[in-house]
Symmetry: C2
Subunit: 227 residues, 2 copies
């Protein structure tokens, strides 16, 4: 297909595609004339992946290029590929962090949680920082909450991750697998949180809502429903 059709089918403007070509994010098409080239389905898929990395995951074009290059290097090694796709290992560094390097020292609560779960997680996984920060924020608001309180959630996260990997497992092409890993990891997040909120309403209705759904107006009960 011509660049104009590639643009139409991907929804990416012509000028942006040319920019990706110049930056080496998108491999060149097959030249058919001095100023014309043919593109195929691999270009379309690659464009989708670029958009997912820069849009959904919010990477800069330079960072997206690093990820794509790293993916190309590790083609075939599913574990390395998923590590890059999930954002666990910084693309372009030959030596990912080891479990006992300096970075884990900064996130003691995440480290304790990972230990307690028996998880094998690199010290460089940026999710560690989020765990420690969240717990600090909650405590700054006088809410008693430590990593042990997260353990039931960690067990559910473990089962969630199993579903995630099951889903990706069915794909054989490594690049497509990486693309799905990126898209499903990042795009599903709002939906997973939405499911939690729906389930919260349902649970609240079941516990406190009497016989009607949450939306049914009813008089207030005479007293609280403490444990």
């Amino acid at each position: 297909m011509r660049i104009s059709e590639l643009s139409r089918r991907s929804g990416v403007p012509n000028a942006t595609i040319k920019y990706y070509l110049r930056e080496g994010l998108l491999p060149p098409g097959r030249a058919t004339a001095a100023t014309q080239a043919e593109y195929d389905e691999t270009h379309l898929r690659r464009l989708r992946l670029i958009r997912a990395l820069t849009g959904v995951r919010g990477l800069s074009v330079a960072a997206a290029k690093q990820v794509l290059d790293a993916m190309a290097e590790h083609r075939g090694d599913t574990h390395e590929l998923l590590g890059i796709a999930f954002g666990i290992r910084p693309a372009g560094t030959g030596a990912p962090g080891t479990a006992d390097d300096d970075r884990s020292a900064g996130h003691p609560e995440a480290a304790a949680l990972v230990d307690a779960m028996g998880w094998s997680v690199s010290a460089g996984n940026p999710a560690r920082q989020i765990i420690d920060r969240t717990l600090q924020t909650l405590r700054s608001l006088d809410i008693e909450y430590d990593w042990q309180a997260l353990l039931p959630y960690a067990e559910l996260a473990e089962r969630t991750a199993r579903h995630d990997l099951d889903r990706i497992e069915t794909i054989t092409d490594p690049l497509e697998k990486a693309e799905h890993a990126v898209l499903l990891t990042f795009l599903l997040e709002p939906a997973l949180m939405a499911l939690r909120r729906l389930a919260q309403e349902n649970e609240s209705t079941a516990r406190h809502g009497g016989d009607g759904p949450a939306s049914t107006a009813r008089p207030a009960p005479p007293e609280g429903h403490g444990p």
Copy 2:
């Protein structure tokens, strides 16, 4: 305490506290002189709740006032209170949506999912829209994904919500309960997604990582580990 101490302990600037007082978000203190008032722990807690609503949940000051007023009205009715806190029912409307009102028509996939789970969830729950939007986005990227694919996640969300409610259940004061519901619902979200990413790395290591942890440098294997 004086307003200056209230400011120091809450971390909210003096001028902002005065603004909240003028807008009626914060009840007035006990006047001790023509231009002085005493504030107590209830003011401090209220300030925390205002900051959680405007900061973490991103409500405008006017919307936060509506939520706080609605909370005051429903004091004692845990279910109504949690509905407001979770953002399920728009504050200030006397009649929340019923299960079969117009709004559910716009989100058929969320409706199918809620039905399949046997959940009791109001049509006005904004999480419904997020479900349908996410699925549309995934399909626009040629990823086959429908509401049925979300069912395993919905079951995990149900268990997550049970932990959420268990946690709030231990609190007897209705306002504090609502505060915790808001804070734990919204502040925990990044941590829950972080747990998923840690678990993804662990699961990927278990499936594809050989005998070493993901962080251990090792040579790339000669071929892929596809299913």
